[in-house]
């Protein structure tokens, strides 16, 4: 099976010595890949690199076999993203924004836009200007925009930030449904480790810019109490947390 995402020796270092080094990641169709790590470990940098928002110092990224540096358009055709904070042109309504997004993907009509708004629970607020939205509502809109084109791969950076409990449950059910019914793949960077434990089949742990561990969640859970315990153990081994943690 060909990987839908492949990074080789992906490296990007900032002047403050933060960034990522030598990331080798392969993602296959149907994977739900969780990216775990402390704040500032390099998770968002990795996601920005694979979506071309920033350029690597070294290494390559291929999405669906297309090099992101040379065939960006082809690589991103089947990718939906929400990277970093949910920022929008706040003078638009949610519906207007999704209509703008829909133009990029052939075959998305008004019914799909309405469906996406309905799925994330924004149907009632669809005609409100985004500037009147709460952080959680903006997060839901970003999620709606990412999944609306039904991409083969969705890249979600901290998707549950600012979501209320119902929103978090909605998010979990949505990802599960899209993964199981539509075969959609996901990369999810999150601190909500319990969510990732329920959603992901694979996880990667990033510490100080390095991908220190990767594994199948089911296998990790056979030898560990929980994903959280495994994660803390790995951080302890890397010297990121004290022995008492």
């Amino acid at each position: 099976m060909k990987p839908i995402l492949e990074t080789v020796q992906l490296t990007k270092m900032y002047r403050n010595d933060r960034g990522i080094r030598d990331f080798h990641v392969q993602l296959y169709p149907g994977d739900v890949y969780g990216l775990l790590g402390p704040n500032g470990a390099g998770k968002t940098t990795f996601l920005k690199l694979i979506t071309g928002l920033i350029r690597p110092d070294k290494g390559t990224v291929a999405l669906f076999g297309a090099s992101i540096a040379e065939q960006f358009e082809q690589g991103m055709r089947h990718v939906g993203c929400m990277i970093e904070s949910a920022d929008f042109h706040d003078f638009l309504t949610a519906r207007q924004y999704l209509q703008l997004v829909a133009r990029y993907y052939p075959g998305i009509g008004n019914s799909r836009i309405e469906e996406a708004l309905d799925v994330v629970g924004l149907a009632k607020a669809k005609s409100d200007k985004i500037k009147h939205y709460s952080t959680g509502m903006k997060q839901k809109l970003a999620l709606a925009a990412a999944i609306m084109p039904e991409p083969k791969l969705a890249i979600l950076d901290e998707p549950t930030n600012g979501l209320d409990i119902e929103g978090t449950v909605m998010f979990r059910k949505l990802i599960k449904r899209l993964s199981e019914q539509k075969g959609m793949s996901f990369i999810i960077s999150s601190h909500m480790i319990h969510e990732l434990e329920q959603l992901c089949n694979r996880v990667g742990i990033v510490v100080r810019g390095r991908l220190i561990k990767e594994g199948c969640v089911s296998e990790l859970l056979q030898s560990n109490q929980s994903l959280e315990q495994y994660y803390i153990d790995q951080l302890r081994l890397a010297g990121e947390v004290s022995e008492s943690a």
Partner: protein
């Protein structure tokens, strides 16, 4: 091509939805009418300032030296530095469009805005003539249309300069302030050194006058056109060089 078209339409709609662009459009309609009404009212006193057949050309001088440059600064600020400041640039960059397509769509939207503004201003100015009862004949109207089309070329070159300049800014207000100062300096510079005039796109804002003159040679028109076209291409390319290296 489909993605580029989507990006272009998206940028156009984003310009359209912005309230200040709508306000600018309303002023573009109101100002010529107010000026025409004032001129008409003052005609018995001042005589020569009546709404004559050349009113659209008189107004074109104001449009190309002040009004449209202001639109260019404002629209370029919204299309580039404002998108960086509000972190919305990534919304376009994460779509299946190359950086060149995103940059091209934004620049094309600005060019379309300039063309639309010229058409709007031209129609309003001609309408003022119509209401003042001084509507020009076919030949004069054709000359007016020719002047407005020629103005588009010089405004495009000016837009390319400021699209390039916009790539250095992360705040729209900073860019606006700098652009106004830069433009004013570019307008004053030819008075201090005549050599500047030949190589500054800002000196070509009244280029349309050459097209109205019967005595200007085709060679001079071609040279000026080639200069403006080269400026547009050069600054468009330089702007892209900066844009493609942007990390968001």
């Amino acid at each position: 091509m489909h993605s580029w078209k989507a990006g272009y339409m998206g940028e156009l709609l984003l310009l359209w939805y912005r309230r200040k662009i709508a306000v600018f459009g309303i002023f573009s309609v109101v100002v010529p009418i107010l000026l025409a009404a004032s001129f008409h009212a003052l005609q018995p006193i001042l005589g020569f300032m009546a709404v004559s057949q050349s009113f659209p050309l008189t107004m074109l001088g104001i449009y190309t030296s002040v009004w449209i440059p202001l639109f260019i600064f404002m629209a370029a600020a919204d299309l580039f530095p404002q998108e960086v400041a509000s972190r919305t640039l990534k919304l376009a960059l994460l779509r299946p469009n190359s950086r060149f397509q995103v940059y091209g769509a934004k620049t094309a939207a600005l060019a379309t805005g300039i063309a639309a503004l010229l058409v709007l201003l031209g129609i309003v100015s001609l309408a003022c003539n119509l209401f003042a009862g001084t509507l020009a004949g076919f030949a004069e109207t054709a000359a007016i249309v020719k002047a407005y089309i020629a103005s588009f070329v010089s405004m495009l070159a000016l837009a390319a300069v400021f699209v390039f300049t916009a790539q250095f800014f992360k705040s729209s207000s900073g860019f606006m302030a700098f652009s106004i100062v830069l433009y004013a300096a570019a307008k004053i510079a030819p008075f201090l050194s005549s050599a500047v005039a030949a190589f500054s796109p800002a000196s070509y804002t009244d280029w349309y006058k050459l097209w109205l003159s019967q005595t200007v040679s085709a060679g001079k028109l071609t040279t000026a056109f080639l200069f403006l076209a080269s400026c547009s291409l050069l600054f468009f390319s330089l702007g892209y060089y900066k844009f493609v290296r942007k990390e968001v």
